[in-house]
C-alpha cells in the first residue's frame, strides 16, 4: 500500500518511512503542509499519516480542505496535541484515527492496517480468497495454508488487489499504489509482477480483464 507521511520533523519522518517500508508499504514524505496538500491531491494514496503542527498549512486546515474536496483517503492523525478536546476536533474535522506522541511504532502500523482494511470494506484482519490468504499484520501470504515467499513489489500488488477484490483494477492504478512518487514508473513491470504472482499462486487466481486491468474474484 502507498502511504503519505506528513511530518515536519525530518528525523521522525524518516523513522516512520523506514518502519512503514519494512512493513511492505511504499512511502512519500511531506515536510510541510503545502507539500502535503500538493501530494495528497495529485497522487494516489491508500492512507495518510498527518501531523497537526505542520508549517505553512496546519494539519486541521488540510483535513478540512481535503474532506471538503471529497478526498476519502483514510487519515491517521499523529500529533503532540493529545487532549480530548483536540481529539474531538481532529475527528470532527475528518480524521479517521488519532494517535498522540510519543507513540509505539507497532501501534501506528496496527492502526494504519485497520484503517486501510476498513476503507476497503473488510471486517477481518486476515483476507482470504479461495485458497490464498493474506495477513497484513504479518505481511504473510499462504496458499492452502502453506506460506508463499513474495518480494516487496509482489506483496504490494497482491495486497492491493485483495483489498479491492471483486473489482477491476487498472494497470495505471496499480502502478500508482505500488511505487513511491520519486520512483521511475514503468507499467510493464506490473505485468512482470502479475506473471510471477500467477506462477506462485495459480494461473487463474488473478484474472486479466482485457483492456481494463486485473481482478481477483471475491469468491475465487
Amino acid at each position: 500500500m502507498r502511504i503519505l507521511v506528513a511530518e515536519d520533523e525530518p528525523l521522525l519522518a524518516k523513522q516512520l518511512a523506514t518502519a512503514l517500508s519494512e512493513a511492505h508499504h511504499v512511502v512519500d514524505c511531506a515536510l510541510d503542509g503545502a507539500e502535503a496538500d500538493f501530494l495528497a491531491t495529485t497522487e494516489a494514496y491508500d492512507a495518510i499519516v498527518l501531523d497537526l503542527g505542520l508549517p505553512k498549512l496546519d494539519g486541521l486546515t488540510l483535513l478540512r480542505r481535503w474532506r471538503d474536496a471529497g478526498v476519502v483517503i483514510p487519515i491517521l492523525v499523529l500529533t503532540a496535541r493529545g487532549s480530548w478536546h483536540e481529539k474531538v476536533q481532529g475527528i470532527d474535522t475528518g480524521a479517521d484515527d488519532y494517535l498522540s506522541k510519543p507513540f509505539r511504532m507497532e501501534e501506528v502500523l496496527a492502526r494504519l492496517r485497520a484503517l486501510i482494511r476498513r476503507a476497503s470494506g473488510h471486517a477481518h484482519p486476515e483476507m482470504r480468497c479461495g485458497a490464498v490468504a493474506l495477513d497484513p499484520r504479518l505481511a504473510r501470504v499462504t496458499l492452502n495454508d502453506v506460506p508463499v515467499s513474495l518480494t516487496g513489489h509482489e506483496f504490494r500488488v497482491l495486497s492491493y488487489l485483495m483489498h479491492h477484490r471483486g473489482r477491476v483494477v487498472s494497470q495505471a492504478e496499480l502502478t500508482e499504489h505500488i511505487y513511491a512518487q520519486s520512483f521511475d514508473r514503468d507499467s510493464n513491470t506490473v505485468e512482470v509482477f502479475i506473471a510471477r504472482l500467477r506462477r506462485k499462486l495459480g494461473s487463474t487466481f488473478i484474472r486479466t480483464v482485457r483492456g481494463l486491468g486485473y481482478r481477483i474474484d471475491a469468491q475465487s
Partner: protein, 327 residues
C-alpha cells in the same frame, strides 16, 4: 428622561422635588402648630398638601430610578460570576459607564492571559513530545540488537515522561482557567462529541455509549477541561466495557453529578483509591490506563469538585464526578 442619562441629574431632580415637597408640608405644619387658635382651613390647603406629597413622592421615585442601573449592574456581575455572561452588558449612566468599561477590559485582559498561558503550555508539550517520539523510535533497534534491558529501560522512562507531561499539562491548563468568570459548558454537548470520537477510536470494537445526560445541565467548567474530564471517564469505561457504557447526570445541592457506568470487570474496592493516585495503574497490561482517572481527580479538585468510584449496577465500574453547577 431615559434610564441611561446622567445619574447626577436624576439625583438633583429627585432631591429638589423632595425638598420642595418637604418645605410645603413644613409650612402647613408650622402654620397648624404656631397659629393654631386662628387656624382656618383655607380652600387652597388641600391642594398645597396634595402637591407637597406629590413632590415628595416623585422626588423619592426619581432617586430610586436613578439607582436602578446599580441593581442591574449587580445582577450582571452575578451573571458573569456564574458563567451566564462573558462581559458586563448594557449601557449605564455616564458616571457609571467608565467603571463598567474598566471592568470589561479587566475581564478581557484576563481572558487573553488565560489563552496565552494555554498556548504556552501547549507549545511546551508539543516541543517535548516530538523529541520523545524520536528517542522512542531510536531505541527500538536496540532490542533487535540484543540490548533488551536498555531498550526496556528507555521505553519505561519515556512512558513516565509522557505521563508527567499529560498530567501537568492538563493541570496547568485547568489551573489557569479554573477561576475565570463567565465559564459555562454543556454536559450533553461535550458528551456527544466525545462519543463520536470514541466510536471512531475504537472502531473495531462493538459497544454502545448511551448518553442520558440532560441538555439543560451546565457546569461552571471550561469546555476544554470538561472534555478532558468526560473524555478520560468515558475512555476508561470504553476500554473495559463489554458492550455498554452509560452516562447520566443529575443536580443535587448545587452540584452536578456526572455518572459513568460500564459493564466491564470493574475495579476491586482495595484498588479504587490507588487508581486515583497520580501515575498508578490498576492493571499494567492496558497501556495508559489509570492515569486518566488521576487526571480526572486533579481537574475535578481544581474546580472544587470530586470523583468517587464504586460498583456499578451494570456490573462494572461506576465513576461519579461532582462539579459546580452553572445556572
Amino acid at each position: 428622561m431615559n434610564s441611561n442619562s446622567s445619574f447626577r441629574l436624576r439625583l438633583l431632580l429627585g432631591s429638589v422635588l423632595w425638598t420642595l415637597g418637604l418645605l410645603a408640608l413644613a409650612h402647613m405644619i408650622f402654620r397648624a402648630i404656631f397659629i393654631r387658635p386662628h387656624f382656618v382651613f383655607r380652600s387652597a390647603d388641600p391642594i398645597i398638601i396634595g402637591l407637597a406629597l406629590l413632590f415628595a413622592i416623585s422626588g423619592l421615585m426619581a432617586v430610586r430610578s436613578g439607582l436602578i442601573p446599580f441593581r442591574r449592574l449587580r445582577q450582571r456581575l452575578l451573571d458573569v460570576r456564574d458563567g451566564r455572561l462573558q462581559t458586563v452588558t448594557g449601557s449605564y449612566p455616564n458616571e457609571v459607564q467608565p467603571l463598567v468599561d474598566d471592568l470589561n477590559s479587566l475581564l478581557e485582559q484576563r481572558d487573553r492571559a488565560v489563552r496565552e498561558a494555554q498556548a504556552k503550555a501547549g507549545d511546551l508539550a508539543h516541543g517535548l513530545k516530538t523529541p520523545l517520539a524520536i528517542i522512542a523510535q531510536e531505541a527500538e533497534p536496540l532490542e533487535r540488537e540484543g540490548h533488551t534491558e536498555l531498550a526496556v529501560s528507555i521505553r519505561v522512562q519515556i512512558e513516565r515522561m509522557r505521563r508527567q507531561i499529560e498530567y501537568q499539562l492538563a493541570q496547568a491548563r485547568a489551573a489557569a482557567t479554573g477561576n475565570t468568570p463567565g465559564v459555562r459548558s454543556s454536559i450533553k454537548e461535550s458528551a456527544v462529541g466525545l462519543s463520536r470520537t470514541l466510536h471512531r477510536l475504537y472502531a473495531d470494537r462493538a459497544f454502545s455509549i448511551e448518553i442520558e445526560a440532560s441538555g439543560e445541565h451546565f457546569v461552571r467548567v471550561q469546555r476544554e477541561d470538561l472534555d478532558e474530564i468526560l473524555g478520560n471517564l468515558l475512555d476508561n469505561a470504553c476500554k473495559w466495557a463489554k458492550t455498554r457504557v452509560v452516562l447520566s447526570s443529575q443536580i443535587a445541592n448545587c452540584e452536578l453529578l456526572m455518572v459513568v457506568d460500564d459493564d466491564g470487570p470493574g475495579i476491586a474496592p482495595s484498588l479504587r483509591e490507588s487508581v486515583l493516585q497520580r501515575g498508578v495503574r490498576a492493571d499494567e497490561t492496558a497501556p495508559g490506563s489509570g492515569l486518566g482517572l488521576a487526571i480526572v481527580r486533579r481537574l475535578a479538585e481544581l474546580y472544587r469538585g470530586s470523583i468517587s468510584l464504586e460498583q456499578s449496577s451494570m456490573g462494572g465500574l461506576r465513576a461519579t464526578v461532582r462539579l459546580p453547577v452553572a445556572g
